[in-house]
């Protein structure tokens, strides 16, 4: 059983985008499995050439090596020795001996140079050639082509050099000649990821530490080789075998032994050529066209630019220069100077090499791994079927475009056949598919365009119909266009819409007809017409029913009200309407009811008045109720009238009663007066006696009058005193007014002075303005003088300010003067009022004086009158006498009075009778009026 080969390249699935660049770059494409969404590697078929590492731009392919494990092992202080490849000269330029220093410091006890192993390898090869005389020797320091031969060209296995690679030579040498390192683990610092296969297959070598990853480790751990000492290798130094890592290095080393070997050697490197070469090698061998030795390396730059170095992209010049330098150094080292130097050098080297070479120590066995290669080639029929899957039906469909990475459609077909890929990765297939998709899309677009246009047209028509409807009309016209095959489905829809629209029109029509019926009927006054709501459906039916209900609701109260009013018009008072209506109808019914109420009220009032109750209160129904107001006024006035009549009657009754009483009295008093006249006569008698007493009293009166006259005299004296006092007062007031006048004169003089002051201030103001002018002039002159006038300008400024101050002071003065003037004006006013008062006083005094005068004259007249009174008294006396005579005549008259009395009595009886009649009448009237309650 073959053990599966260790993985040397791994795929990071997340980063793989299935671009197949790796497949395109791979020499043995079928180690890649691309039938999924990412490309995977079959390590058993992978030869580790590293091409896909360079081809992948997505960092999806990474080399696998043991650097990490190595570092960890070092950290664990495991016993370790290092085997260092000559490519370190390129990866660590000029520092490769310091690398040894680092290794030693990290715990590696010894480091060995593979270059010496290469010397041994040459020895082995030459031995093989000499001993076995093979037809063909394929040098195999390169594990990639070993893998390739083992897996894909097992027929070449016999021709692989049965010797180890230099690295393995070194390891075996160590095991053989340095037994102290028997238990140590071996870390190989190599430039090649595929070396891992070698170690795996031979069981030698524990850690494959690639130089790339070692360098990365140095960077991340911040290890600088410059800080480490240069330490030489622990094994004998190689000479030009340091060139082994270079293409042609093997050849040059072999040349040292066998100068003619170059003619028998093919030097070939680069993955683009070697595999093709190897494919044909066996055939050419049989045709005897092959060289003896094939110096073959996978990598373009040889091992110096191997898959485990960073030098892949370097120029050959860069790379080989370094190695060449080392070569020169080594050659110099080994050089034996003096005569026969070449021979002696060669001899020395040969002895050195022989010390470490043993036959059969460095033999290498190879495995035939072609069984891993399970790639089946499809048969003719199978090919056809696969091509059909890929939609390659004709010869011309075989593009060989290498999109899939396989180079030819045939190889892609093989891959598909082996489930290593799928038609979806074939460019042609995808093109076809997209072409088909595009055609479908075109077709769909066309169809949808047609449908869209049809729809737009129909919808526009529909919109127009709806617009007509929105404008309130139902007379739209719409014809649905006939459809094409594409628009068939939509046409059905529009037909549906058309039919529904027709139904809408029908419903609206019904609704309109019904409403018209109702409105016409209502306008014509036919209140009992109702529409048929059953013709409509849904909300429209509700609408029609609603309209019916409106009519119903409106007409019924109207009918009731009109009936009611008709009865009222006939004069009947119908009973209240008891039906309940809603809203304003209720108001109507209420009003009608109130009307009935008030009519009843009026009726009641009239009835009560007829019954005689004039005290009834007439209630007005409102301010506009003229009827009730008139009625009320009528009742009131009638009542008032009756009241007055009653009062009048009462008065009449009482007057008539009084009259009868008076007439009785009159009769009585007439009688009394005749008695009286007798009494009068007696009184006259008395009167004449009284006259005498009167005369005596007259005397007294005269005496009184005399006293009055004396008193009057005294009064005159007093009055003249008062008169003289008032004269004095008048004089004083005159002088006071004069004083007041003089004061006002003074004040006027003061005012004048103030004015004069004002004039002075005017002068000052003019002075200040002139000063200002002067200052301006000065400024102007100073400006004209320029710099020299600077001082002058200051002076001008001062003058100007002075002028300013002056004018401000002047303004102040003016204000003060104005103040004084105000005060003066007030003072004048006060003085004037004082004068007025004085004048009033003197007027009063004059009035008093004139009054006194009047009094004096009155007193005089009183005295005059008193004299007259005395005179009068005398007259009285005289008249007394005359009275006596008159008394006589009086008694005569009394008699006449008695006679008249008798006539009066009879008249008073008549009066009495009439008075009685009157009071009876009054009683009658009262009785009539009494019927009315007032």
């Amino acid at each position: 059983m073959l053990r599966p080969l260790p993985k040397v390249i791994e795929v990071v699935k997340d980063k793989c985008v299935n671009c197949h660049a790796c497949i395109a770059a791979c020499p043995v494409k079928f180690c890649n499995d691309g039938h999924g969404d990412t490309v995977e590697i079959n390590s058993d078929l992978c030869i580790g050439c590293g091409q896909c590492l360079r081809a992948c731009t997505h960092q999806a392919r990474l080399p696998v090596d043991d650097t990490k494990a190595f570092v960890e092992a070092l950290a664990r202080r495991e016993p370790m020795i290092a085997v260092v490849a000559p490519a370190v000269a390129v990866s660590f330029p000029n520092e490769y001996l310091r690398l040894n220093g680092w290794l030693k410091s990290a715990g590696v006890v010894a480091s060995f140079d593979v270059s010496f192993g290469a010397e041994l390898t040459i020895r082995s090869y030459l031995e093989h050639v000499k001993t076995n005389t093979p037809e063909l020797v394929i040098a195999q320091p390169c594990p990639v082509l070993v893998n390739y031969a083992e897996i894909y060209h097992p027929e070449l296995i016999p021709y692989l050099a049965p010797a180890d690679s230099p690295m393995l030579h070194t390891i075996k040498m160590i095991r053989e000649f340095w037994p102290k390192y028997a238990g140590h683990r071996i870390a190989v610092l190599s430039p090649c990821i595929a070396k891992k296969r070698e170690f795996f297959q031979t069981g030698l070598g524990d850690f494959n530490v690639t130089m790339t990853n070692l360098k990365e480790h140095f960077d991340s751990a911040n290890i600088r080789l410059a800080t480490f000492p240069e330490v030489d290798y622990d094994n004998p130094p190689a000479e030009r075998a340091v060139l082994f890592s270079t293409p042609g290095g093997l050849l040059r080393t072999a040349e040292r032994w066998n100068p003619g070997i170059r003619d028998l050697t093919r030097k070939i490197e680069g993955p683009h050529v070697i595999f093709h070469y190897l494919d044909h090698l066996d055939r050419l061998r049989r045709e005897k066209k092959t060289p003896l030795l094939v110096d073959c390396l996978n990598c373009d730059l040889g091992c110096n630019g191997g898959t485990g170095t960073d030098a892949k992209d370097h120029s050959p010049d860069e790379v080989e220069r370094l190695v060449e330098e080392r070569n020169q150094v080594m050659q110099k080292r080994h050089r034996r100077w003096g005569p026969f130097s070449d021979y002696r050098t060669r001899n020395a080297l040969e002895r050195l090499v022989d010390r470490y070479w043993k036959p059969r120590l460095y033999g290498r066995q190879y495995e035939n791994r072609s069984q891993s290669n399970l790639i089946r080639i499809p048969s003719e029929a199978e090919f056809k079927r696969i091509y059909e899957q890929m939609e390659k039906f004709e010869e011309k469909d075989h593009y060989n475009c290498n999109s899939c990475g396989y180079g030819t459609c045939e190889r892609m077909a093989i891959a598909i056949h082996n489930q290593l890929n799928r038609p979806e990765n074939c460019h042609h297939f995808l093109l076809n598919r997209s072409e088909r998709a595009r055609q479908e899309v075109d077709e769909l677009t066309r169809t949808s365009d047609l449908v869209f246009r049809y729809q737009s047209g129909e919808l526009a028509k529909l919109a127009a119909c709806l617009q007509t409807l929105a404008n309130g009309h139902i007379d739209w016209k719409w014809e649905v266009d006939a459809p094409e095959q594409a628009t068939q489905a939509v046409h059905g829809l529009f037909q549906q819409i058309f039919q529904n629209l027709e139904l809408v029109r029908g419903s609206l029509q019904n609704l309109l007809t019904d409403s018209h019926t109702l409105t016409d009927a209502a306008l014509a006054g036919k209140l009992s017409t109702r529409a048929d709501a059953s013709r409509n459906q849904g909300e429209f039916a509700h609408l029609v029913q609603g309209m019916n209900n409106i009519l119903e609701a409106v007409t019924r109260p109207l009918v009731v009200a009109s009936g009611f009013i008709e009865r009222l018009s006939r004069g009947e008072i119908p009973p209240r309407i008891t039906e309940e209506y809603r809203g304003e109808f209720n108001l109507l019914i209420g009003s009608l009811n109130r009307l009935v109420e008030s009519l009843e009220g009026v009726t009641v009032v009239a009835q009560r008045v007829a019954e005689g109750d004039l005290q009834i209160e007439v209630r007005e129904r409102s301010d506009q109720d003229r009827l009730m107001q008139a009625l009320g006024r009528m009742v009131k006035q009638v009542g008032q009238m009756f009241r007055e009549v009653t009062t009048g009657i009462a008065t009449l009754a009482s007057s008539s009663t009084e009259l009868s009483a008076i007439s009785e009295q009159l009769a009585a008093s007439t009688k009394g007066s005749s008695d009286r006249s007798t009494t009068v006569a007696a009184a006259v008698e008395q009167m004449s006696s009284n006259t005498v007493s009167v005369a005596t009293s007259m005397e007294q009166t005269t005496m009184n009058l005399t006293s009055v006259a004396t008193a009057t005299e005294e009064m005159s004296a007093t009055i003249s005193e008062i008169a003289s006092n008032s004269e004095k007062a008048r004089r004083i007031s005159a002088s006071a007014s004069q004083q007041a006048n003089s004061v006002s004169e003074i004040i006027r003089a003061m005012e004048k002075s103030a004015q004069e002051i004002g004039q002075v201030t005017e002068t000052i103001t003019s002075i200040s303005s002139q000063t200002n002018l002067l200052a301006l002039n000065a400024t102007i002159e100073a400006a004209r003088a320029g710099v020299a006038g600077k001082g002058f300008a200051v002076v001008a400024n001062e003058v100007k300010e002075l002028a300013q101050q002056t004018s401000t002071a002047t303004i102040d003065i003016r204000k003060k003067i104005a103040g004084i003037q105000d005060v003066t004006v007030n003072a004048i006013g006060d003085i004037e009022s004082i004068g007025k008062i004085i004048k009033e006083v003197s007027d009063i005094i004059a009035a008093i004086a004139s009054g006194i005068e009047q009094q004096a004259s009155v007193t005089k007249s009183i005295s005059g009158h008193i004299a007259e009174a005395s005179q009068g008294v005398r007259e009285v006396n005289r008249r007394m006498a005359e009275i006596a005579t008159s008394t006589q005549e009086v008694s005569k008259d009394v008699m006449a009075v008695n006679r008249v009395h008798g006539e009066v009595t009879s008249s008073s009886h008549q009066v009495f009778a009439s008075a009685r009649q009157l009071s009876e009448l009054a009683e009658q009237l009262r009785g009539m009026v009494g019927k009315f309650k007032i």
């Binding site: 002018l773 301006l776 102007i780 400006a783 004209r784 006038g789 300008a793 400024n797 100007k800």
Partner: protein, 161 residues
């Protein structure tokens, strides 16, 4: 409008602010010789309307011009506040009548703003630019223009008068 002592040292020019026919004008102090209050002015008959008359200035006869008439406004009244600015013009002394004289102020050329568009014809010829002082617009008069084109302005004055 104070006159500072270091005024003349700076680059400012001085202008005299005066009021005439309701507007504020500024006149450079350079051509001005002096200012005075109104003296006895003898009118000159048959003279152009902007010539108010002549007066005696310390032995010299000076013509009194009314700039208001020259700019197309009605003639100014003679009040106690009126002043005469005596200016040099081509070896002559000419008096300009103004209604009020406010003072002398410094003026930097950068402070001027150009004439507005709607300025009347009569003003635009003689005002070079405007100045904003204390919130009021002051027009800077070009004395030469005002006095120089006597013949043209005489025609204008004659036409408008």
């Amino acid at each position: 409008m104070e006159l500072s002592s270091d005024l003349l040292v700076t680059e400012n020019q001085l202008i005299v602010l005066c009021g005439c026919c309701g507007n504020l004008f500024g006149i450079h102090t350079e051509p001005i010789q002096e200012v005075l209050a109104i003296p006895e002015v003898r009118p000159v008959h048959h003279a152009p309307p902007f010539v108010r008359g002549v007066f005696n200035l310390r032995g010299r006869v000076v013509v009194l011009i009314d700039p208001a008439v020259k700019m197309g406004a009605p003639p100014q009244e003679l009040t106690p506040e009126s002043r005469i600015l005596v200016v040099h013009s081509k070896d002559e002394l000419i008096g300009l009548l103004v209604s009020t004289l406010l003072g002398v102020v410094p003026f930097a050329s950068g402070q001027a703003t150009p004439n507005p568009e709607n300025l009347e014809e009569g003003f635009r010829k003689v005002i070079s630019s405007f100045l904003l002082l204390d919130g009021k617009m002051v027009g800077l008069l070009k004395i030469d223009t005002l006095l120089g084109e006597n013949d043209e302005l005489a025609h204008d004055g004659g036409g408008e008068a």
